[in-house]
Structure formats: C-alpha cells, structure tokens
C-alpha cells in the first residue's frame, strides 16, 4: 500500500505542478493564488516582497557568480541563486538599473542578506505550492 502511494506521488502529472511552481517562482505567492489559496498567497507575497524591498532600501548589493577558492564560489554562487529565487522582483530591479557596489557598513550588509533571504523564503513558498499542487498537502 505504501509503495502504491509512493508510486502515485512519483508520477504526479508534470502539467499539474509546473505552471504552479513557475508562477510561484516568478511572483511570490503566485502559485498559491493559482491554487485559489488567496489568503496564504497574500501573506507570502507581502512577506517576500517586503523583505526584498527592505533589502533594496538598505542598498544591499546583489551577488554575482564569482570564481576563486571554494568558499568564495559557494558564497557568491549561492548568493546569486538566492537573489535569483525572488523571481520577477530580482529581474525588475536589475532591468531597472539597480546596481549597488559592495561597500562596508552594517546596513548594506543586512540589505544583501535581506535580498537573499527573500529568495530563500520564496523557495519555501514554491515547495509549499508544489506540495499542494500534487495533492500531498491540503
């Protein structure tokens, strides 16, 4: 019985969750809106967008992929992926010319962390939307 359930989960049709996850990535909370979870989607949108905007207002620098020693690669590639996970918020800010140099100061430093954290929170929202889409979660 457990095997049958696992098989059902494994073959959840891609068409049922790909649009949800894609929208959840591009627009924080968008996957939940598509699944008609408006309240939760609204809270996710509010939280992720606020975190991202606070990061911009603190003039946090965006991470760019950068080579070098292992730690540098992990930090800069990881940070870039975290920034990218915010979806349209990231693309819009880059397209509109946001380019903050990495300068010293705790506010800038917090800003960079807020920008990455917004993306990571959006990843949690994407996973939640995926689980709802495949029926694993209510």
């Amino acid at each position: 019985m457990a095997n049958a359930s696992a098989t059902t989960d494994a073959v959840a049709p891609v068409r049922s969750w790909i649009p949800v996850v894609a929208l959840a990535w591009l627009v924080p909370g968008g996957g939940h809106f598509l699944l008609k979870r408006y309240g939760r989607g609204g809270l996710l949108l509010l939280s992720v967008a606020s975190m991202f905007l606070l990061g911009l207002m603190m003039r946090g620098p965006m991470f760019q992929p950068q080579g070098g020693d292992l730690l540098t690669v992990i930090i800069y590639y990881g940070g870039f992926l975290g920034d990218l996970a915010s979806g349209l918020l990231y693309f819009l800010s880059v397209w509109l010319g946001y380019s903050q140099p990495d300068v010293a100061g705790h506010v800038h430093d917090y800003g960079a962390k807020f920008l990455v954290a917004a993306g990571l929170l959006n990843v949690l929202a994407m996973v939640d939307a995926y689980e709802i889409a495949i029926g694993k979660k209510d």
Binding site: L43, L44, M57, M58, Y110, L124, A125
Partner: protein
C-alpha cells in the same frame, strides 16, 4: 527609492517578523496551527536575538 538606515536590532526584528510569517504559512495544516507556529518561530527568533546579543556583549569584555 528612499534609503533606509536601521540598527542591528531593528534589522533582526524585521527579519524575524517576515521569516516567521512565511514559516507559519508553509508549515502547518490548519490556520490555527499556522498562527501558533508563526508566533512560536517569532518568539524563538527574539530569544535567540537577545541571547546572542548578550553573549556578544559579555564576550566582548
């Protein structure tokens, strides 16, 4: 876009608020449990914030 200048405490508090909301929303199955879990996460953030703050203050000498 206005420039925002915050203290360490304010930044950590803002981080705690928004992170707790997301953790609450994505974690549990009922709204009641989500609210409780979000509040609990926020409480944990605050406890950690004050504890680490005091450790750094005392450790600094």
């Amino acid at each position: 876009m206005p420039k925002l200048s915050v203290s360490h405490f304010e930044a950590a508090l803002l981080f705690a608020i928004f992170s707790s909301i997301v953790l609450g929303v994505v974690s549990k199955k009922t709204d009641h449990d989500r609210l409780r879990y979000g509040l609990r996460c926020f409480g944990y953030f605050l406890v950690a914030l004050f504890a680490v703050g005091w450790i750094m203050y005392l450790g600094h000498g």
